[in-house]
């Protein structure tokens, strides 16, 4: 596309919104990692290391 070959210049406002969206997505992803980590610990419980070998 010709427009793309020339490169689209984002306005300052668009740049700002894109940055805030990217940060929000990063926050959600990190949150999910932490959530699954904590729930794994909760589900396994403290006795996970205490098992017959």
């Amino acid at each position: 596309m010709a427009e793309n070959e020339q490169g689209i210049k984002l306005t300052a406002e668009q740049e700002k919104k894109r940055r805030s969206r990217s940060l929000a997505i990063a926050g959600v992803l990190i949150g999910l990692v932490v959530l699954f980590y904590i729930v794994t610990i909760v589900k396994l419980g403290p006795d996970i290391m205490n098992r017959p070998l």
């Binding site: 793309n4 919104k17 969206r21 999910l32 959530l35």
Partner: protein, 311 residues
Amino acid sequence: MSLAERHDMMENAAWTGGDGSVGDYIALMKPRVMSLVIFTAFVGLMLAPGSVHPVIGAVAILCIAIGAGASGALNMWYDADIDEVMSRTRKRPIPSGKITPEEALAFGMTLSIGSVVTLGLLVNWFAGAFLAFTIFFYAVIYTMWLKRSTPQNIVIGGAAGAFPPMIGWASVTGTVSLESFVLFLIIFMWTPPHFWALALFKKGDYETAGVPMLPNVAGEMNTRHQILAYSIILAPVGVAPYIMGYAGLAYGIASALLGLVFLVLALDVWRKREGTPAQKACLKLFKFSIFYLFALFALLLGENLVTGVMA
């Protein structure tokens, strides 16, 4: 927005990532509806017999809330055309041009799948499946099918808004029961008088949008009859948790009194049929209905917490 403008916006959005801010995406999730869902789901979770680890409980509420947000986004995606012509909804992110319908659809689908899978994996799959059904019910049965085709739209569609306490309950027990069904029934019976009081007030708006709300199709008189009929059923249903023994005397007395006030206000709507007094009566019932539902669930929760502390 013209077709050419929309095309330009979409093409542009593909390169720039869209013009929506984080706030616009949050607005897409209908945060006010979400707050009610969080509250009622939490009450369901707390009232359920047995216990759940606080972290698992918090995850369940989070997933139910995100599922409700997903339903809201899908609803706004499908209803963008009618939102554009109603004064109450004109400023929503899609009609105001901040988010494209395609972005809203992708956002809604991502949240739907994410919330259902997370609830299933981390809490239990019955609750996950129930959440999936609720999102489907709201987005497909209500939004796509009933809303534009029958004046009974909000009666059946109201079920979607009434499921959260049952999902909260199922997050603890892994099943449903008569007690959780009564919580569903309270919201289910409450929805028609609540929305029809608003519809009587905002009749013109729905008419412009071509949405068959009861006052536009069956007439204002018929709507008043039905508001009264649902209120007569709602008042005793509100007391049912006490009668069934999972709410205390304080709840029993308060819910009976609140039900009585609801009934008196519904009767007022039924009696005053013309001009400003009629409008005032509708607005009064609408406002009280919000307080009524909040008060019932807050009482259930309060009693549960007090009994928990004293035990």
